[in-house]
C-alpha cells in the first residue's frame, strides 16, 4: 500500500491521507471527467483506478472499455505502479471489453442494447467475492464511444447512465466516466452533456491552457465537488483549479504559477 502524500487531485476528489480509516470518498458518487481533443483527461481515470486499488484492500473495479483494449490500460497502470493483471487474478478487477459492441438497431426484435450491458455489470458485481463488494467502482471509458455503440441514441446512453447511477445510490458504489465535451459543447445537442453534468457529483474538467501548448504545463484542471446531502440537495459547491504535467511514471499537479 502506498503511503505517499496527497496531491492536489486527491485533495480535490476528497481523499484523506489515512485512507484505510476513512470511508472511501467516492462512495455513492458519480465522478464525471470531461476532456477535449487538445488535452486528454484519461489520466484522471488512471489516477482513480490506481487509488481505488491502493487505498484499501477490499475494493473492486468494474471497467467498461469502449475505447481501448486491456493491454493499453495494463501498460499505463504499470508505469504508475499498479499491476492490473494481478488485480484481475485476485478478483478485484473486471474488464468488460466493449470495443466490438454494436447495439441492434431500434425496431429489430432484440433491441435490448444497453440493457444487456447493464446486465453484464450486475452479473460482474454478483460474481465478486463478498469481501470485495464493499467498495466497488464502475468505470466507463468513454461515454462518446458508448454513444457510438448505441447507434447515436443519446437517450439510450442517458438511460444507461441513470441505471449505473442507481447503483451508487442503492449500494454505495462509485461511478466514474469520461466524456469528450468538445463533441457536444457546440453542436445541436448541448443538452446531452448538460444532462450528465446534472447527474455528476464531482465534475473534473480538463482543458488546455488558454495560452496554448507548453512544455512544462500540459493543461489545467477544474474540479467541482458538489457536497450533497442526498436528501436535501446541494449543501455546498467546492471548486478547485490547478495545472498538471504528465510525466513518465506519474502526474504532477500544482497551482498555477508555482512552476518556473
Amino acid at each position: 500500500m502506498e503511503h505517499q502524500g496527497l496531491n492536489l487531485m486527491d485533495q480535490a476528489l476528497g481523499f484523506h491521507s489515512n485512507m484505510t480509516q476513512q470511508p472511501w470518498p467516492l462512495c455513492g458518487r458519480f465522478v464525471l471527467v470531461e476532456d477535449c481533443v487538445d488535452t486528454s483527461g484519461a489520466f484522471v481515470l488512471h489516477h482513480i483506478l490506481k487509488r481505488s486499488f491502493t487505498s484499501r484492500p477490499s475494493s473492486a473495479v468494474i471497467f467498461l472499455a469502449f475505447a481501448h483494449p486491456i493491454n493499453h490500460y495494463d501498460r499505463v497502470l504499470r508505469k504508475l505502479g499498479c499491476n492490473l493483471s494481478s488485480q484481475r487474478d485476485n478478483g478485484r478487477f473486471f474488464f468488460l471489453d466493449m470495443l466490438m459492441l454494436q447495439c441492434p438497431v431500434e425496431g429489430k426484435p432484440k433491441h435490448d442494447g444497453l440493457a444487456t450491458v447493464f446486465e453484464k455489470i450486475e452479473r460482474a458485481i454478483s460474481e465478486l467475492h463478498p469481501e470485495n463488494k464493499k467498495f466497488v467502482t464502475v468505470v466507463i471509458d468513454d461515454i462518446s464511444c458508448l454513444e457510438v455503440a448505441a447507434n447515436g441514441s443519446s437517450n439510450d446512453v442517458l438511460d444507461f447512465l441513470h441505471y449505473c447511477y442507481t447503483l451508487t445510490s442503492e449500494n454505495g458504489y462509485a461511478l466514474v466516466a469520461l466524456n469528450h465535451q468538445d463533441i457536444y459543447s457546440d453542436g445541436e445537442r448541448p443538452a446531452f452533456m448538460l444532462e450528465i453534468e446534472y447527474l455528476a457529483d464531482i465534475l473534473v474538467k480538463v482543458d488546455p491552457l488558454a495560452t496554448g501548448l507548453a512544455k512544462d504545463v500540459h493543461g489545467q484542471v477544474m474540479v467541482l465537488n458538489k457536497e450533497t446531502q442526498k436528501q436535501q440537495g446541494i449543501s455546498s459547491i467546492k471548486v478547485q483549479n490547478f495545472h498538471f504535467k504528465i510525466k513518465e511514471n506519474n502526474i504532477e499537479y500544482f497551482y498555477p504559477g508555482t512552476r518556473t
Binding site: D112, A115, F118, E119, E122, R123, N155, L158, D159, H162, Y163, T166, S169, E170, P190, A191, L194, E195, E197, Y198, L203, M222, L224, K226, Q229, K230, Q231, Q232, G233, I234, S235, S236, I237, K238, V239, Q240, N241
Partner: protein, 368 residues
C-alpha cells in the same frame, strides 16, 4: 416568496377551478432547484400531517432521486412517515424506470412487501398509464370522497426526456383538472430543454419559481460557476411569478442560501443593488441621456415614418426640398405600396437602441 408559494399549494384549489401548479426551474449556473423542491415538499408534508392543508395526502413521483432519499428527508425533518393513517405514497420511477432490472431478477417486484408507501413503476415512457397510476394511488390515500391529495413530480425534465412535450403538458393539465387533486409541483432544469418545451410547461403552471444565480453571469451557456473565487457558490435568487385568480401576475424576488442544515430564504438585500450599480464602468463621458435629450430624440422623424397627417408617405431623396415634395402625391414604390381606400401601412419604429449592424438593413426596400 417561498412562504407564499407554500401557502398557495397548501390552500389548494377552489371548487370548479384548476389546481395550483408550481414549476421550480433551475439551471447549471444555479443548480439548487432540488433544494427548493425538498423545502416545499417538507413544508407541505408538515401541513398535511398537521391537518392544516386542503390535501389529505401526497403522491411523490420520484424519477431522479431514490424513494429512500424522500423518506430520509421527511424523517430528518421530523415528519412522521410511518403514521397509522397513511398519507404519503411514493411512486418509484427511479430504480427501474424501463424494466431493465426485471430481466436480471426473476421476480418482477423485489420491493419489500411490507413497505406500504412505495410502489415501483417500470414503464416511465407511458405517460397516460402514469396519470392513471397517480390517480389510483391518490384515491387510495384519501378515499373516493371529496378529499384531495397533492402530487409532487421529482423531475419534469426526466419526463420530458422519456416522452414528448405534448404528453407531459397534457399530463400536467389532466392532473390540474382532476377534481381530487389539490395542488401539484415539479422540478425542471431549464437548460436541458428547448424554449417551446419550457414555455409549454410554464403555461400549464400557475406559479413558476426560477432559481437564478446570485449575480447574473454574462455567459449564457448555462455552465457551472467556473471561477473559484466566486464567493456566492451557495447563494442565489428565487424569482417567483404567480398567476392570480383575477388574472394579474405577481412577481417577487427573494435571496436564498443553502447549507448543511438546508435552504433559508431572505428578502433581497439592498447592499446587492449598490454592488450591482458599482459594476457599471466609470468613464469620462456621460453615457446617459438627459430628459431634454430624450424628448428631442423622440421628436426626430425618421425618413420612412408615417407623417401622421393623412398624406401618403413622402420620400425626401435629397434632390428637392421637403416643402416642394409635400405637394407631390406620388406614392412610393417598392416594398411599401399603399392601396388607395383600403388598407394602410402601419410603421412600427424600431427600437431606439437597435444595434447598428443588425441583420435587417432599413434601406433594403428602398427603390429610388
Amino acid at each position: 416568496m417561498a412562504e407564499s408559494v407554500c401557502r398557495s399549494l397548501r390552500d389548494g384549489a377552489l371548487e370548479g377551478e384548476l389546481a395550483p401548479a408550481l414549476t421550480i426551474k433551475d439551471s447549471l449556473s444555479s443548480p439548487f432547484g432540488f433544494n427548493v423542491f425538498s423545502h416545499i415538499l417538507v413544508q407541505l408534508s408538515s401541513h398535511i400531517v398537521a391537518g392544516k392543508s386542503q390535501s389529505r395526502g401526497m403522491v411523490i413521483v420520484s424519477l431522479s432521486r431514490s424513494p429512500s432519499s424522500y423518506t430520509g428527508l421527511l424523517k430528518m425533518n421530523e415528519v412522521d412517515v410511518e403514521s397509522s393513517k397513511k398519507w404519503i405514497h411514493i411512486l418509484d420511477c427511479y430504480t427501474d424506470p424501463l424494466g431493465w432490472k426485471d430481466k436480471t431478477r426473476k421476480s418482477g417486484d423485489i420491493m419489500d412487501p411490507s413497505n406500504q408507501i412505495l410502489s415501483s413503476y417500470k414503464t416511465v415512457k407511458d405517460v397516460n398509464k402514469l396519470f392513471s397510476v397517480i390517480c389510483d394511488l391518490g384515491r387510495g390515500l384519501v378515499g373516493e370522497n371529496k378529499s384531495r391529495f397533492c402530487v409532487a413530480i421529482d423531475s419534469l425534465s426526466e419526463l420530458l426526456r422519456h416522452s414528448s412535450m405534448q404528453s407531459v403538458a397534457s399530463l400536467l393539465s389532466n392532473l390540474r383538472s382532476h377534481d381530487q387533486i389539490s395542488s401539484i409541483f415539479g422540478l425542471l432544469h431549464s437548460d436541458l430543454h428547448e424554449e417551446r418545451a419550457l414555455a409549454a410547461v410554464e403555461y400549464t403552471s400557475s406559479i413558476v419559481a426560477s432559481v437564478d444565480p446570485f449575480h447574473h453571469s454574462v455567459d449564457g451557456q448555462g455552465s457551472y460557476i467556473r471561477n473559484s473565487s466566486e464567493p456566492n457558490l451557495t447563494k442565489g435568487k428565487l424569482n417567483v411569478r404567480s398567476k392570480r385568480r383575477n388574472g394579474r401576475v405577481r412577481v417577487t424576488c427573494e435571496e436564498f442560501k443553502v447549507g448543511p442544515s438546508g435552504i433559508s430564504f431572505a428578502p433581497v438585500s439592498a447592499v446587492d443593488g449598490a454592488a450591482v450599480a458599482g459594476l457599471i464602468p466609470k468613464v469620462q463621458f456621460n453615457l446617459q441621456l438627459s430628459e431634454k435629450e430624450l424628448v428631442d430624440r423622440s421628436r426626430v422623424v425618421l425618413p420612412f415614418e408615417h407623417q401622421g397627417n393623412g398624406k401618403p408617405i413622402q420620400i425626401y431623396d435629397g434632390r428637392r426640398s421637403l416643402e416642394e415634395s409635400n405637394n407631390e402625391t406620388t406614392p412610393i414604390s417598392g416594398g411599401k405600396k399603399e392601396e388607395s381606400g383600403r388598407g394602410e401601412i402601419i410603421y412600427f419604429r424600431d427600437s431606439d437602441d437597435e444595434m447598428p449592424d443588425s441583420d435587417e438593413d432599413p434601406d433594403d426596400d428602398l427603390d429610388i
